[in-house]
Symmetry: C2
Subunit: 101 residues, 2 copies
């Protein structure tokens, strides 16, 4: 049994940033739409969520910047998808915890 976690401030900061990126209702909704390796464009997400295009782009930018999502441009479209699929499990886990209040 190795104790790797001596609480490195930088890792702490990174983890917090990643979580902060996810910790927003719209961004969680985005993640849920991307579960299972799905790839969606900015427009698709903006229509699915019913929020402004620029707001959508901002949220996607945050998620990408913090290492939650990746993106790939194909012609005029940019597809976004989960970088680590486990992240959607994190969200599910959290939701289960919010259940039994």
């Amino acid at each position: 049994m190795i104790k790797i976690q001596e609480i490195d401030p930088d890792r702490l900061e990174m983890a917090a940033n990643m979580l902060k990126a996810i910790a927003h209702p719209m961004r969680i909704a985005i993640l849920k739409h991307l579960e299972g390796g799905k790839k969606l464009t900015v427009t698709q997400i903006h229509e699915l969520l019913g929020i402004e295009q620029s707001t959508t782009s901002h949220h996607l930018g945050i998620l990408k910047d913090k290492g939650v999502l990746c993106s790939r441009r194909e012609g005029k479209n940019t597809f976004y998808y989960l970088k680590h699929d486990v992240l959607s499990q994190v969200v599910d886990c959290l939701e289960r915890c919010t259940c039994g209040e």
Copy 2:
């Protein structure tokens, strides 16, 4: 295969709040100290983290309010501990994700 997640705005909000509560370097550090069912007092945590007593109390209050921690008073001390132990797994999972950047 049941599709439970029709993305209820309230659940979304709840999950986001819980995540927001966790998404802070100091608060993640607190969770790591409480892993495995450990119970610590405000003073212990405030000394472990090297931050102000009132700041510590604030952070603990946020974590408790959002359903991440529970507390139990014993004499002059108040012990804080994880409500759902799975939450420390969430943190570990996240940290693993921050690794392979």
